[in-house]
Amino acid sequence: MTLQHHHRKHFTVGTVFFKFVLYIYAVVNLYPIIWMLFYSFKDNMEIFTTNPFGPPQTLRFENYVKAWETFNLPVYFMNSVKVTAAVIVFVIAFSTMFAYATARMRFRGQTFLRVLTMIGLFLPLQCIMIPIAVLVRDLHINNTLWAVIVPYTAFNLSFSIMVLYGYMRSLPFELEESACLDGASIWTCFLRIIVPNVKSAIATVAIFVFMSVWNEYNLALILLTRDELKTLPLGLLFFQGEYTTDWGAMGATMVIASIPTVLVYTLFSAQVEKAMTVSGAVKG
């Protein structure tokens, strides 16, 4: 006890300084959101020349009115929700299954297959967009939301598999052994024992997939050509002209688009926390 006490005192100055740095860094990270909020109330003159960093001199609500009126925001928003939800479900389901098979089951070529899936992580999208568009047409899923759900799912699998594989590799083999002895089928073992043990990883992956799909622009631009199918990031298009851009209205659109991401992350990260304490308790 005394030893520990001594220890703590010894490190006080350093600890306080370290805490200070942590808080400074937090503020630095908070600023972009605030900046974006400021930005969404400014006009081009303020954004670029007179007042790039401070709060807006006048609150230009017309930016929000413009964002609301120029394109069909509720429809775009709902499309984003549908696409994101579907992709998260598919990615989590498929990647958990695949990661389990490659991390814990035994078959020839499992490493090869896993490395193969990793290619999705660095396939340069810009160059395969036209082939993908043709593919989507040939699969007869063009002009539906599946046109983006399917490619998004495929491209998000790589990352998800990589993370889940890492987690599953670290689980003790006794888990399966005892399940096997209890007479549980491997499917039951996967669903009832393995999946609950990687809950926190699944939650983390879900957050990442959410962010990447919610903000995706390039593929959506190519694959969604009908107004009633467009997702939120495509709304930005209405403000980027050939020569001029209405940055304020773009800021307003981005604020509207970012609110759900911030909310989802804040709520979800609490879930992750919970999931982790539970799994920690199981293990401990």
């Binding site: 695949f98 399917v150 926190s200 920690g280």
Partner: protein, 293 residues
Amino acid sequence: MKKYLGNKAMILALIAPTMILICVMVLYPLVILFTKSFTEWDGLNPSTFKGMDNYIRLFKDPIFYTGLQNGIIFALVQTCIQIPVATLLAFAVKDSGRFEKKFFRITYYLPAVLSITVVAQLWLSMYNAEYGLINKIFELMGLEYRQNWLGDGDSGIVAIAIVNTWQFTGYQFILLLSAANSIPEHYFEAAQIDGCSKFKAHLRITLPLMQESYKYCLIIAITGGLNAFATMNIMTGGGPGTSTYTLTYLMYRSAFKVGNYGYGCASAIMLVVQCLIVSIIINKAVARERIIY
């Protein structure tokens, strides 16, 4: 047990959905990319076979080397900053109190939540040579160090890499934090009995146990750097001239600005090969043994 884990039908059922999607959406386009890299193609009409022409041209193209070099710089900056900073943050947050834990967990990840457009735009203002904050800070510190951060060929790429690095450090932070959190408490209890300081305990226990996570953090940081496109597309458009081009940029330029899709495919293939090699090396080098806790 061997039979149990070698259940063929089960394996097939587990990997089928992923393999189908990957084959159709990733490998098939890759094959197209590969075959088209030997042709002259405008992206729409039938292509003409040109053998190794595109690759020979690529190795003579100064932009290819600029792109290669910039990709490597980008990956280096990203890896060398993100991984240590994210590690430090993850450990610090793990040992923080309840409120702080929540607060830091949210704020540190926030930049990654925002779209790249917002972050790039903010940093453009920060870097601005006339009124940018960064030059102002140097001024305040009394340093005569006004820099034209993005307009200079050499500092440009580093300046852009730093933006990307900063935005996605939160990403690595969350990955490492959840990895650190899933290490069972009893390891730390043991360390405490040994009289280790927290820092030492992390260094000796947590870090080695997290190798599996470092593996994918490294892969993401490096391949993400080699593949960089979006941030520079918004910030400099590859300029001035070609000085902040990466291979992805060269690919985009060839395919859509110059209208030589086949040549773009060749540089895309070089990029994929590069990333694949890096990933395989990391896979072989980090966490070779299964770490089970």
